[in-house]
Amino acid sequence: MYYTYTITGLILIISFIINKQKTLKAIRIAVVKFKKIFPTFITMIILISIILFLFPDEVISNYLGNSSKFISVLLASLFGSITLMPGFLAFPLCGILLTKGVPYIVLSAFTTTLMMVGIITFPIEKEYFGAEVTIIRNIISFFIALIVAVITGIFFGEIFL
């Protein structure tokens, strides 16, 4: 993560050398935009902290490992849609689930919905796109994730058509 700060810092310095006025204006824009979204952002983080508590790793792995593939895929995509987990947590968890025998098709549904569908980011997305577009985008993303999961299942020989 440090590289983001280094790069941003460098760009900021270069910008400042070229044009002081413009750079100050850029910082003002950054502050105004950040302030605008901050309350929504805090509410969302609070919701995430509660949801991560309600669905800890053990619960997720219990549900994904112990039922039929079909139900597991559905549950996985629901978990993935509701929660928002940073990649550095999600992939190690999936790696563990893989060694526990959870099929690829289930993990694919889980990771793809985790990345693309954000029920919990709805308040933030709505601020920019409006509620209707946010709902449409998330529904589309959900189906893309299901398609990805099914094709993953086919390629790993987990489902037969």
Partner: protein, 174 residues
């Protein structure tokens, strides 16, 4: 709107009070929630200030004509390539993608490109993809990318066309 703000403040106060009481009484679920809150907040604070400063610089320095030319109505296939590369190199996932996408839109990027950007930011960030492949195997990651990326582009084009027909406009912080 005012009622909404009051509700929010009440909600946050109750939440914080619950966390504090949990710590005093040693109530474990409350402690766990506090831990979740702090770790996620730190993770986001690591990246958000950078993103917003970069957005500010982008708004000040990048001319509207440049974005219109490369990502606007007449941009063609190259526009999608550019925007996917851009999404691939910016860290942070969906949350960061929304404000960036909004700035791109304001500078004249067309809707289908904006939605492609959001989709691509979710699924094909380069550092995350490498990380994923190391846990799940290259085959898994490759299938995911090769299937999802075309679907993201196609659905973005359809959604863009549908919204353009309806004269959809993006408005920040209504």
């Amino acid at each position: 709107m005012k009622k909404n703000v009051k509700l929010k403040i009440a909600f946050i106060s109750i939440y914080l009070l619950f966390l504090i009481v949990s710590f005093i009484c040693g109530y474990n679920p409350g402690k766990e929630i506090a831990f979740n809150l702090i770790s996620f907040l730190l993770e986001m604070l690591k990246i958000l200030p950078c993103v917003f400063i970069l957005i500010g610089l982008f708004e000040v320095w990048v001319k509207k004509e440049v974005i219109e030319k490369h990502l606007g109505e007449k941009s063609g296939i190259k526009g999608y390539v550019w925007v996917i590369l851009l999404a691939g190199t910016i860290a942070g996932g969906l949350l960061v993608a929304f404000p960036v996408a909004y700035s791109l839109y304001n500078k004249g990027a067309k809707l289908s490109i904006v939605f492609t950007y959001i989709g691509a930011a979710a699924i094909c960030r380069i550092p995350m993809t490498l990380y994923e492949a190391s846990f799940m195997g290259v085959k898994f990651t490759a299938i995911r990318l090769l299937v999802s990326l075309p679907l993201v582009i196609i659905t973005s084009i359809l959604l863009g066309e549908y919204l353009t027909k309806r004269n959809y406009k993006m408005v920040e912080g209504k």
